[in-house]
Symmetry: D2
Subunit: 284 residues, 4 copies
């Protein structure tokens, strides 16, 4: 499965644009296997609770979708949990509490168990953003819970994926969120990718996955090599670069919320990479 | 000036207890020079916007107070900014945006300037919690803004304080938030402390500050040495330990919000330190 | 190619045992494609220049071998360079200067170019030990030098391998030194492994490599999964664990040099992993 | 006490210049309380054992001196230990083993105890260079050994100094190696400084120390503030900058050993700082 973490569009003044949001989701959905809403590139942490609810209501996904949650405590998570459930999300993708992480201790496992009382949960390890660890020992414990059914690991630390492959139950679902090492992650057991780059080149990543799954390894390697610069620059440029690139392709992705920059400092480096892939027919 | 960052009381189920909050503030205020509300130990990030407003309205501080803000974007900050202003805060103490910090760039300076359009701002550097840097070059730029009037630096990195002393304008106000190095910070130009430990031993930290300011250096050193274990263990134990210690002293500090643990794993190590200081008359 | 970084045997008092060294090399060599001497697990940094020369002279490898070098300056490297050349090493595997790395600057590239004046050089990136970076930009520059012909990358950071695959010339030789992600590294273009674990299970790693190269992907994945605990624990346990395991298998690997511990604290966890693999016939 | 860690002069081709070394020591010694040879700025790790011995024999210090040692194992340390003892060093200043630090464990304490069998030892914590920790718990243990008599702490982490002040025996000698926080370190109990900057401005640092010790705190603060840029830039520039500045002042400090750069990239920023201090009479 390839899922893009769709961006949440704001206008130039920072207002949430729910119409653009719906259009964007509708443009992407036919090209992929599902969506991640409010994920690593979805600026969920940039929304007030009201905006968050309003945005989610504006979307009518037909394919399976995940909803991201980056909260700090159980009581704060409750509203978003309810709303994700009502919207019909296949699971909630939740990061660990962050701000007081150093004194969280056993609370880390307790947090996920509390969330899982309500609905299926995917663990979300994205230390570039959260700056906290999700220890392998905690993943191992949590993966035994019947409603904790998967993980998105965006760390790019493939030792973690090798650990999941070797130590977790076979039906625990592993997705990588790190495009630059995508083929490596597949070799180490990931079932698919939830990749910012899949907002730009959904077909290409689906082709790579398909080549790998059908044993056409040198084709998969050629695609991995071809797509590396796209994923690698996007990792560096983050949301401002992703939105700029999507706008460049005519998609209603909007702007990052202020004070985040509206133009990426590496757009000049990224643009030729993007255009070359476009010419070869890899972009949406 | 010595200001405690007062904790925000929750009951055992995680509900905000505004009455306890007011009592706590009233108990502490006479012993200190002012308060920090929703700061490093105030769990501001553990409140919904409504709760945050409700808690602030419950307090009626008579001494100067700061209000902490740990938001991600300008639009999200607006409500809290307005409420702090209405409540009469002397300044808003604001951390940098965190989640997408890697792509913030010039947005860091833009963020603080946007906040400062409304009211006086203190910069807040507390990387243990935010996990992001507030670069010295940005501090140097921002300290030139007429409404950015001070900084609380909780990093314990005293090279930063030495930098402020050497390179910032004389009336830029520097507070340390790091008790274990308090006397070092004073020697390097800090005017006072905003210290979790001042929730427990306000008199002791005021005595230390007074000894330093009046040139009684060996007395200041003796107090620094005496108080080191208190501040050092509290740095390690964080909010769960602070609240447990305050409850132990009979203060209505309540519990950390779930899933944070209600008892600290280092309470056993901390308790004798606390009780010895209590016997010597240093606690409130 | 699978090469083990053979350990350098010391007796219990810390004396270099050249006879054991030669025996060990002779026991391993037939099972692998070559050797790395004084590499990541070879304690080259634990030898005086005289001992280093004496050890190398004691060996008579018949297969291709690399010699590791962890020096700080060009003049200090000269003797070892000469000795490796005389011994017939296929290349010198050199880490960057470490101690004053922060002020090395352009000296990093200059260092490798100076070494390459004499003989073929492999870059050696092993930040767990060196604690310094070998920036991708430097690798890209150095890979254009005709006598800098390969790299051993032990970091386990597979983004680096994906970068090599996408950006370096096709005949630049890439070896991983990180067993836990071995199959991921192969998928991302590594030609083989220089793995501590290949001192224990040379046949198993050669089988994994062979399965991958001949397109038997699910067999390769099964082996990767099977071998993960071996490589992963060995990464954590380092030289003391490797030597203890080799002694346990009857190999003359000796002891780490004092003050390094003679027994590993994770031997108890490692032993059953080792014995299970032994029963299945995977060890040498 | 103020001691400079004197640089070891190499000529432009990287040859050790023992005559310059002796001249340099003789020029500095009258202005300070003693010397550190082969310390943080002495490039001890850039010498072969023979050169190291030759350099040490060339010096005839009259004041107390320390000799630095950055070895990896006990057997490798033995020769340098003997030579330091014969030369009459007041103590050996030794960093922890580095390369396999992750598997050192109890060996850390064992290492220092083995060294202390021969002569007085100072612990040396300089993580900028060694990239390893010297845990406070190990310092606490080692400070009880009768021949482990002091520490040089160059980390700039003043929580450590506060810990030493609060938890170690009163006669354990603490020196800071971090000029930018010098006055903070004194307030937290350091008895003096072993400072690269004291190679350039020995009188200034002695004046600062004297002002502090005689209770002239605002004078000490003024000097701290005045000297901050010198120490701070020197921390960033390291050996290449120190040597360039000393050459600029006419001292026979020579050049860093290749491949280290002969000119510092921040010399242009440093030079006006240096010259302003020179005009005010603070340099040697």
């Amino acid at each position: 499965m390839i899922l893009p973490p769709i961006p949440t569009p704001f206008d130039r003044e920072g207002r949430l644009d729910t119409e653009a949001f719906r259009e964007l989701a509708e443009a992407l959905e036919p090209l992929v296997d599902g969506l991640l809403i409010y994920g690593s590139n979805g600026e969920g942490v940039h929304l007030t609770p009201e905006e968050r609810a309003r945005g989610l209501r504006a979307l009518k996904p037909r394919k399976p979708f995940l909803v991201g949650l980056m909260e700090e405590t159980v009581p704060q998570a409750e509203r978003a949990l309810l709303e994700a459930q009502e919207a019909g999300a296949m699971a909630l993708l939740a990061t660990p509490p962050r701000y007081y992480h150093a004194s969280l201790g056993e609370g880390l496992v307790a947090y996920y168990k509390a969330l899982a009382e309500r609905m299926p949960i995917f663990l979300y390890h994205v230390p570039q953003n959260t700056k906290v660890d999700l220890p392998l020992s905690a993943v191992e414990t949590l993966a035994q819970h019947p409603r904790i059914t998967g993980i998105k690991d965006s760390s790019g630390d493939l030792t973690r994926l090798a650990f999941y492959q070797a130590h977790l139950r076979d039906d625990f679902r592993v997705f990588t969120g790190h495009a630059p090492t995508f083929l490596g992650a597949l070799a180490l057991g990931a079932e698919g990718g939830i990749l910012a780059a899949a907002n730009l080149a959904p077909r290409a990543y689906r082709s790579l996955l398909e080549a790998f799954r059908t044993g056409r390894l040198s084709e998969a390697q050629a695609l991995q090599k071809r797509l590396f610069p796209l994923g690698n620059l996007l990792s560096r440029g983050g949301v401002p670069l992703l939105k700029q690139a999507m706008r460049h392709l005519g998609l209603p992705a909007g702007y990052p919320r202020p004070p985040y920059p509206q133009e990426s400092p590496i757009w000049k480096e990224f643009r030729p990479v993007l255009e070359a892939l476009k010419e070869e027919g890899w972009l949406l």
